[in-house]
């Protein structure tokens, strides 16, 4: 059964990407794929739906793979990118940007809001990393994890201070940003996030043997010849940077990074090369499904997908936990 899981996930993911753009408040016929992009339905398809689905897929995959790496790195099933300060750091950057009423674009490609969010999460990462490094006996996984959680609360409270001091419109914008949503117009955001996904997937795929050893514990990894401290630094920084790129575009989207790897583990086992591929396909498909649901459930109103992933994710996760016989 586990042998056919990867091809199955691949087909599932492709099918989701193919069909999701045609579902929504505005009915779009399949023939719209082949007509020019100038007409009504075809224009919606090419400029809104397809970029949105692709962005959703990339975001889901990225978060799932990042979660997979973090869970192996910290030997902790609860580690996920949105928990470790990176997301709240991004939110902090975004909130300051909105509060200051700044408006600029970076080379006319990246919006100022994304830039600010990226800088915020980078600041959080560096702060966590420095805090972890301050300890005399090296950078341990527990220190990094706890520093991350502490930093996440610190930035969370700073966000609230700024939100509290802001006016109605500002506060509303800040709140909406921190809910997390996939809103794409055109393909520029897709091109922005795709390289980050490529980088983190290649890292996860190539470093699968090291990740397998990490899961068995620091001593086992070190005794098999893994440079534990160096690798921990590299993985922590690269995952944080990749998540930062993603959060900057989509806002913090919870639970995909936690839930994705766990479900993949149930489907394909604990070997990390297979898990990396499975997380790529599953994480993407999961978020696209959630986002499509967010578009149609209250149509014509839209729910930010961050709310939906947390809601569906937590219930589904609880169900998995209670019914599964495997230890997590």
């Amino acid at each position: 059964m586990k042998k056919f899981m990867l091809p199955l996930l691949f087909v599932f993911s492709l099918a989701v990407i193919f069909f999701a753009p045609f579902i929504g408040a505005q009915k779009i016929p399949f023939s719209a794929l082949f007509t020019g992009a100038s007409e009504g339905p075809a224009r919606i398809l090419w400029e809104l739906r397809i970029p949105r689905v692709l962005l959703g897929w990339i975001t889901g995959s990225t978060l799932a793979i990042c979660g997979l790496i973090f869970q192996a790195l910290f030997r902790n099933p609860l580690a996920s990118p949105d928990m470790l300060g990176v997301s709240s750091g991004a939110a902090f950057g975004a909130v300051i940007y909105i509060r200051l009423g700044a408006a600029f674009t970076f080379f006319n490609v990246v919006s100022g809001l994304s830039c600010a969010a990226f800088l915020g999460s980078l600041a959080a990462t560096i702060a966590i990393y420095a805090a972890g490094n301050l300890k005399k006996n090296g950078l341990s996984e527990a220190t990094l994890l706890l520093a991350g959680i502490a930093m996440s609360y610190l930035f969370g409270s700073l966000n609230m201070i700024i939100q509290y001091s802001g006016g109605y419109t500002d506060t509303f914008r800040m709140m909406r940003w921190s809910l997390g949503g996939i809103e794409a117009v055109g393909f520029s955001q897709v091109w922005m996030t795709l390289p980050a996904l490529a980088v983190i997937f290649i890292i996860a795929f190539c470093m699968a043997p090291e990740l397998n050893l990490f899961v068995c514990g620091e001593d086992v990894a070190a005794s098999r010849g893994v440079s534990v401290e160096w690798l921990r630094k590299v993985l922590f920084l690269s995952v944080s940077a990749v998540v930062a790129v993603n959060v900057a575009e989509c806002g913090p989207i919870g639970f995909v990074g936690l839930l994705g790897p766990h479900i993949c583990r149930k489907l394909v086992g604990t070997e990390h090369r297979r898990l990396a591929v499975a997380s790529l396909f599953f994480g993407g498909a999961f978020l696209v499904i959630c986002d499509t649901a967010a578009r149609i459930l209250w149509s014509p109103e839209e729910v930010p997908v961050g709310i939906l992933t947390s809601c569906i994710g937590s219930i589904f996760f609880l169900w998995l936990l209670l019914r599964g016989k495997h230890k997590i």
């Binding site: 043997p209 090291e210 068995c216 514990g217 070190a222 005794s223 098999r224 010849g225 070997e271 230890k327």
Partner: protein, 311 residues
């Protein structure tokens, strides 16, 4: 002129030049320290080689302000079966971790084949030294074969998969440890004895010439203790793999190991041939317990059993 040993004990990074073959300095060190015969090492090796197979000089370790190990020196030869014994908290496991460079904060020198361990990259160390850790309760979510195949890591180039040779070595180690029929079972589903043999199989798959074992029998019943010791002896005698075993079980050390190093409070209390430790009647001092020893019919090596606290 500074004393050569000072260089070694003061800084872990300085003595590279000694390791690289300043023969005069090393010979002088040998004569002055006279620490090389305490372990019953073979005489001829001393004449042929300037350095021993494995040398530890003035090893000290302090973690978080506490002195764990204090100025430990000893050597052992290729093919030896060395056992490090001592009461809980004596620093046995910490010593082993220093010898495998899992702890890097030590001062002093640890040399393998005349090379500082500190100067060797982790992969190279892992090609020489395999570990069976004290992982009784750890969650290892892999099958026996998967875990063994992970031991091939130090021999594989990055990004390359498992070669045919890797697979042969893995199968062979599973067979040697007698877990070939358990290969597809999850490690977490095995009994204590099976799990220990599986972990030893994984260490064998690493194709090293040294094997470190940390309390390999502490959670096993009598039969599985004997079984595990048999397996370790087989690996030592038949495959010529040098074994260093940390244990608090005196009988295990007496009956398995050739040489014993006894630690207490981070210092070496005694070192020598394993059978001599009974003659020197140091056991009660080391373990702070009264022991009595007895021999079963037809056996030379006695068994030791605790009688009560020293009063």
């Amino acid at each position: 002129m500074f004393h050569p040993l000072q260089i070694i004990t003061r800084s872990p990074k300085a003595p590279f030049f000694i390791a690289q073959g300043d023969i005069y300095l090393r010979k002088k060190l040998f004569e002055e320290q006279n620490i090389f015969d305490t372990c019953g090492c073979a005489e001829n090796q001393r004449d042929n080689n300037v350095w021993r197979f494995f040398e530890v000089h003035g090893l000290s370790l302090a973690l978080g302000g506490t002195q764990i190990l204090d100025n430990i020196s000893f050597t052992f030869n290729k093919g030896d079966f060395l056992s490090i014994i001592g009461p809980n908290g004596a620093g046995k496991s910490s010593l082993l971790k220093c010898l495998g460079r899992l702890y890097k904060e030590y001062t002093g020198s640890v040399m393998l084949d005349g090379m500082q361990l500190a100067a060797m990259p982790p992969r190279t160390i892992a090609q020489r030294i395999a570990w069976v850790h004290q992982t009784s309760s750890d969650n290892l979510p892999f099958t026996v074969r998967e875990f063994a195949s992970m031991s091939r890591y130090p021999w594989q180039k990055s990004f390359s998969g498992e070669s045919r040779k890797d697979r042969e070595i893995i199968e062979q180690s599973l067979k040697t440890a007698g877990v070939a029929d358990l290969a597809d079972r999850q490690l977490d589903s095995l009994s204590g004895g099976e799990r220990q043999r599986a972990l030893i199989a994984a260490a064998l798959a690493q194709s090293t010439d040294i094997l470190y074992l940390d309390e390999p029998t502490s959670f096993l019943d009598y039969r599985h203790q004997a079984e595990t010791l048999d397996l370790i002896e087989k690996i030592n005698k038949e495959q010529g793999i040098t074994v260093v075993m940390v244990t608090h079980d005196i009988n295990l050390a007496l009956h398995g190991a050739d040489n014993i190093i006894a630690l207490k409070h981070g210092r070496v209390m005694w070192q020598g041939k394993s059978t001599d430790i009974i003659k020197d009647s140091l056991l009660s001092e080391i373990f702070e317990t009264e022991f009595c020893s007895f021999k079963s019919v037809g056996q030379d090596i006695p068994y030791v059993t605790p009688r009560g606290l020293v009063r």
